[in-house]
């Protein structure tokens, strides 16, 4: 094996000593061991990174559920749809955001805005739940 010799050259640098985060000379900061602990919002809102996607809302049909135009949705595809969940649904060729309610022989897609009508889903519709919404990020 070839032996590697490192030759350190004199440098014009101000700090030729090894630089430890934010400290100018050799004495390490006592906070060094805690350097990776700053809070990261993703850890809180993303349970399953492999199945989490973001989407943007266009329109105000869910305004009474607290979701408005331009908000960002945090969607987890791995969550099973449950009665009353708010989900991105794919209905007859288009994505729509609704509350999914289970009734006896059909589903209802319920908007959160009196100006819009609920949509009844039966076996005749081309329907899938694309993903269940877990969080809403909105700018105030």
């Amino acid at each position: 094996m070839k032996k590697t010799v490192k030759i350190y050259q004199p440098s014009e640098e101000e700090n030729p000593l090894p630089v430890v985060e934010g400290v100018k000379c050799g004495f390490p900061s006592p906070a060094e061991d805690f350097s990776d602990m700053r809070l990261n919002i993703t850890q809180e809102i993303v349970k399953n990174p492999a199945s989490t996607f973001y989407a943007r809302v266009s329109g105000n049909s869910m305004i009474n559920d607290g979701i408005g135009d331009g908000d960002i949705l945090v969607v987890d595809k791995s969550v099973d749809p449950y009665d009353g969940c708010i989900a991105i649904c794919y209905v007859d060729g288009e994505f729509t955001l609704k509350r999914v309610e289970r009734h006896n022989d059909h589903l209802m897609l319920v908007p959160g805005n009196k100006a819009y009508k609920p949509i009844q889903i039966t076996a005749d519709n081309h329907f899938t739940v694309w993903g269940v919404v877990r969080y809403v990020i909105k700018k105030l």
């Binding site: 490192k6 492999a50 049909s61 595809k77």
Partner: protein, 423 residues
């Protein structure tokens, strides 16, 4: 006995497009290679129309129009991210995974011997689909080569629900009769032709050949493949990626490059990309090679395919240092009046960056370069590629034809899917 699984995404690029555009389900869909050249991923409906793998778009224009085939440019930002999601999912299921390609991964199922592996395979497939919306075929078998065959088998049989465990001696024997030699993993087209000429058409025929003959005619690799088909594992499982000994970035241009200025902007951009890759694997390089290629399909135009190599006195990793050399070499290669179709930059003589041997006469300030590059890489990673660049780089990115590109749904905030809430 250790078992291996192969998880293979079905028609991967097409499936990625379908996740964000469910209206494409049931329709013929194809994804094109770089520069919108050839079909590189096809939905089953597109395959049924006779669109073959790698066929150039111009040859299938009629079929595309007549059957309303949906055509996409490759969206590698999207496919790369979806691929990582699949790998993340698989990692939760198996003790070790080997990423074999963007759409295939092997799993080492050590410790899972007592599990119902048929159920395991179906569960792995179901979890991938649930997390990402991508259909994945999972084949489990005593060797990697057989796992490939098992995974292919699930694609043809939807009733298997995406998972199949191939292990009974009789099942393997029956299965091999249905596999043509050219479909065996590791047997290329040349060997298939040779085998066919000896009357060997299926994997079952191949395993009956005398091992000495196989070793003599097809090298040790052929013999390994034969043993693997017999159920004896001999292809290593690589659950770490060894650092590459050679790194290359090259692209074909959408339009031929004639002007040195335009050409050098592109080559500078390739240099920045290749150097970033080099630093990401914590390496430095001794040599850089620049190459240029004219359009060989234009027979009346002057032709050139030439490369130049430069050797650094001290292994380099700084974009600034390497770029300077690349542009100089490029100026030696460039000929006025030639139309260049492709160019590339290759780094070789790669060593770990902590093993760089300094030269006494070296007057480059390496500490300074290395700090600068660190900042540049960090900024570009956080804010986006090309935020900090060498002034000679093209600011418009690579000039590629990507007219049918879908949005970067998962890697760019301005491209995330929009959900209507207005009805």
């Amino acid at each position: 006995m250790i078992m291996y699984a192969l998880a293979d995404c079905n028609n991967f690029f097409v499936s990625c497009e379908r996740v964000f555009n469910p209206g494409l389900n049931g329709r013929p869909v194809i994804v094109l290679s770089n520069n919108d050249g050839c079909a590189v991923s096809r939905s089953n409906e597109a395959k049924a129309l006779g669109i073959s793998m790698g066929v150039p778009l111009f040859k299938i224009r009629d079929i595309v129009e007549k059957h309303h085939v949906a055509v996409f440019s490759s969206n590698f930002a999207l496919y790369g991210d979806m691929s990582r999601r699949i790998h993340q999912t698989l990692r939760q299921l198996a003790p070790a995974i080997e990423i074999y390609s963007i759409d295939e991964a092997f799993l080492d199922l050590r410790g899972l011997e007592r599990t119902d592996l048929d159920a395991f395979a179906r569960k792995a497939s179901a979890m991938c689909f649930k997390n990402t919306g991508i259909p994945v075929s999972v084949g489990v078998a005593p060797t990697k080569t057989l796992a490939k065959i098992a995974s292919k088998h699930c694609k043809k049989r939807p009733e298997l629900q995406g998972g199949y465990f191939l292990h009974q001696k009789e099942d393997i024997r029956e299965m091999l009769k249905t596999v043509p030699v050219e479909d065996i993993w590791g047997i290329g087209r040349r060997y298939s032709q040779k085998l066919n000429s000896y009357g060997v058409y299926t994997a079952a025929d191949f395993v009956t050949l005398p091992p000495e003959w196989v070793k003599k005619e097809m090298s040790i690799n052929g013999l390994r493949t034969q043993n693997e088909l017999k159920g004896e594992s001999c292809i290593d499982f690589l659950d770490f990626v060894p650092p590459k000994k050679q790194i290359c970035v090259s692209r074909s241009f959408a339009r031929e490059m004639v002007d040195f200025g335009n050409l050098s902007e592109q080559v500078s951009l390739f240099t920045a990309m290749v150097c970033e890759k080099l630093r990401r694997q914590k390496s430095a390089c001794h040599q850089v090679i620049v190459f240029l290629l004219t359009n060989r399909f234009k027979e009346d135009a002057p032709q050139q395919y030439e490369s130049r190599m430069f050797t650094f006195p001290v292994a380099a990793s700084s974009t600034l240092e390497i770029n300077r050399v690349v542009l100089k070499e490029l100026s030696f290669l460039y000929r006025k009046g030639y139309g260049y179709k492709k160019a590339g930059v290759i780094l070789t003589g790669i060593i770990p960056d902590d093993a760089v041997q300094l030269n006494l006469y070296d007057n480059t300030d390496r500490m300074k370069h290395s700090r600068l590059m660190k900042v540049m890489d960090q900024v570009n990673e956080r804010i986006g590629h090309g935020t900090l660049a060498v002034a000679t780089e093209s600011r418009e990115g690579i000039k590629m034809n990507r007219q049918r590109l879908s949005p970067q749904y998962t890697t760019k905030w301005t491209d995330i899917p929009v959900v209507k809430s207005s009805r």
